[in-house]
């Protein structure tokens, strides 16, 4: 373990972590309820945050509600610590909470993410906070929220199962490459947020707490530690996580999830780890 990253200076014009205490308490209650009913979507009174709905306000509100002064925050977007949205959100919490931030998965107590779960296995005590654009796993099949609520109550996921069947019948494999729906603790169908299918297995029996916040859709849901999370599939067509069949051009990894980068005007391509911390660790920093 490295030395603790330095604390940032907090902007005293704002309450700790921006949200007022009553709002944070309301969100914590929703989180507790979400943990008690794994995979079930809990409505909450999402607030306007100083960045647009859909840019991670759900994740930011969850982070703000659970953040303590001694937490060490890592923010990634697409797996990278250096992408614009990640940089912006990290700077936001450094300013309004004054907490320590890090880019190292191992050092972080809270990891807010958009679209990836870090390659390095998470540990007990770590919390993953997902920014969720569409919490409802059935929304492309049934856009009416009142109806999806009924289907969840009945545990009726035939729509999703039929969609999967149709994809396999038509194209030989599942149609979803990211945000492939998962069954949590054998009860609720859940959107894993738009992580690539490659990351779905990392949710299963994870020692870390997984919290999902959807600000615009005003829902929170969760997977508690050591909970079964199974990707929707058929016995004779098991779920297959996919990645680009290449080695990372920077660290040589053949197991990590890769980004495709267009290298020249002729359409030449190279592949590099999307998890920038993992890649740096492999390269010995």
């Amino acid at each position: 373990m490295n030395a603790m990253p330095p604390l940032n200076h907090r902007d005293a014009a704002y309450n700790f972590a921006y949200l007022d205490e009553a709002t944070k308490r309301m969100i914590r209650r929703a989180i507790l309820k979400a943990l008690a009913i794994p995979g079930h979507q809990i409505p909450f009174g999402a607030r306007e945050m100083p960045l647009p709905y859909g840019w991670g306000t759900g994740g930011i509100q969850v982070t703000a509600a659970i953040l303590g002064p001694r937490d060490v925050l890592k923010v990634i977007d697409q797996g990278a610590d250096d992408t614009t949205n990640a940089v912006s959100i990290r700077a936001f919490f450094a300013r309004v909470a004054g907490i320590a931030t890090t880019t190292r998965t191992a050092e972080a107590t809270i990891i807010q993410t958009r679209h990836r779960i870090p390659e390095r296995p998470l540990t007990e005590g770590q919390v993953m906070v997902f920014q969720v654009p569409m919490p409802e796993p059935l929304f492309r099949l049934e856009p009416r929220l009142a109806e999806t609520r009924r289907l969840h109550a009945l545990g009726d996921y035939s729509l999703a199962q039929v969609k999967l069947y149709e994809d396999i019948a038509r194209q030989g494999e599942a149609g979803t490459s990211y945000n492939h729906p998962v069954m949590v603790a054998g009860r609720y169908l859940m959107s894993p947020s738009p992580i690539p299918g490659f990351d779905n297995p990392k949710l299963h029996n994870s020692p870390a707490i997984m919290l999902f916040g959807a600000g615009r859709e005003k829902k929170i849901y969760a997977v508690p530690p050591y909970t079964t999370v199974e990707s929707l599939d058929f016995d004779d067509h098991p779920f297959r996580p996919m990645r680009a069949p290449h080695a990372c051009s920077a660290c040589g990894s053949t197991t990590s999830y890769l980004d495709e980068i267009i290298a020249d005007d002729q359409g030449g391509r190279i592949y590099v780890c999307s998890d920038t911390d993992h890649c740096a660790e492999n390269q010995g920093r």
């Binding site: 990278a80 936001f92 300013r95 267009i262 005007d265």
Partner: protein, 355 residues
């Protein structure tokens, strides 16, 4: 005592005087100039130019001032003016590939030839009110240089790999003109795009948003969003060669969507296209989403959502038409209403007899 409302002339004059007073506001404050609006409310000017479909920053600024900042009213003023101008030619298609780019981002690739250029954007600003701005005296920092060098279109890179459907080539036919002819249904794409380009930003935003929330089957990615200056080229028949008549700023969005394939075509990406005059990212993106949604029937997809219904979208996207009909409800309707009164009294009388 009952007083009949009579004599519109004096009332209208008084209303106009009152409106002029309201427009001017507190006389102890300096009056705005159209130049200030053009320079400092640039995005409002761009929106009015797009929805007014007339590229003239000065006139758009004047319209905004005259409309007291009501941007739909301003677009209306601009369109009404534009119709008094004679149309003498159509320019060559602008080449956005040769754009002098101020902003260019791709959400589909982390990096690509030509690079990502954030440009002047609200993205990643924290939306905290800047009280220092109210206190004035902030000098603007030096403007960054526009990016140079070739910037191949992302969709072209995908098309070269066969993963992206190509748009139909230009058939050389003169462009149809929505402002001179009524919309036919089914609507050719060129007219559809014209209609969306001058459509209301808010309406298209709501329509585009609905496709993302499940009303329509969108899986969109921003392949590329670029904003900058393009050259407008005209080839007058009497000259026989093309001449450049100036530069305009446009925003272009190419949105990538899935297409499952059919008996004739393999699975591939399809594109939604948005182009707007000036800097209008929200509009260009919404337009691209709606453009793609409206392709549903051509691609053999089920068209079940509002955004996939061309008649619904195209006939309601025009805010000048929409405001006119909604606001006409303010006109006197006492003759119609009187007949309704008589009708309902007559039906009630029969209802009471039977009760």
């Amino acid at each position: 005592m009952y007083v009949a409302v009579k004599g519109g002339e004096a009332a209208i004059e008084a209303a106009h005087a009152w409106l002029a007073e309201r427009r001017r506001g507190d006389q102890s404050l300096a009056a705005l100039t159209p130049e200030q609006i053009e320079q400092q409310l640039g995005l409002a000017v761009d929106r009015v130019m797009a929805e007014g479909s007339c590229y003239d920053r000065g006139l758009a600024a004047l319209a905004i001032q005259q409309a007291r900042g009501d941007l739909i009213e301003a677009a209306f003023l601009l369109r009404a003016y534009r119709n008094t101008l004679s149309r003498f030619a159509a320019c060559e298609p602008v080449d956005t590939g040769a754009m002098r780019v101020q902003r260019r981002i791709s959400a589909t690739y982390k990096d690509l030839p030509g690079g990502q250029v954030l440009g002047p954007t609200f993205d990643y600003t924290h939306r905290l009110l800047d009280f220092a701005l109210a206190a004035e005296g902030i000098e603007a920092p030096q403007e960054a240089e526009a990016a140079a060098g070739p910037m191949p279109r992302v969709t072209e890179l995908l098309a070269r790999e066969g993963l992206m459907a190509r748009d139909a080539p230009d058939d050389g036919a003169p462009p149809p003109d929505l402002t001179r002819e009524p919309l036919p249904f089914p609507t050719p794409r060129a007219l559809r795009l014209q209609s969306l380009a001058r459509g209301d930003e808010g309406f298209l935003l709501g329509m585009g948003y609905s496709t993302q929330r499940g009303y329509g089957n969108a899986h969109p990615f921003v392949a590329e969003l670029r904003m900058g200056e393009v050259e407008v080229v005209l080839a007058p028949p009497e000259l026989g060669f093309a001449i450049s008549i100036g530069d305009i700023t446009v925003t272009e969005c190419q949105m990538v969507n899935q297409f499952a394939g059919s008996a004739e075509a393999p699975p591939q990406f399809t594109r939604g296209y948005g182009l707007t005059m000036g800097h209008g990212e929200r509009k260009a993106m919404a337009m691209a989403l709606v453009d793609r949604a409206l392709m549903a029937p051509d691609l053999g997809e089920d068209a079940t959502a509002p955004a996939q219904q061309a008649e619904f979208v195209l006939l309601h996207a025009d805010n000048v038409e929409a405001t006119g009909f909604v606001e006409h409800l303010k006109l006197p309707h006492h003759v119609d209403f009187q007949s309704e009164l008589e009708k309902i009294r007559s039906i009630r009388a029969r209802w009471e007899e039977q009760a």
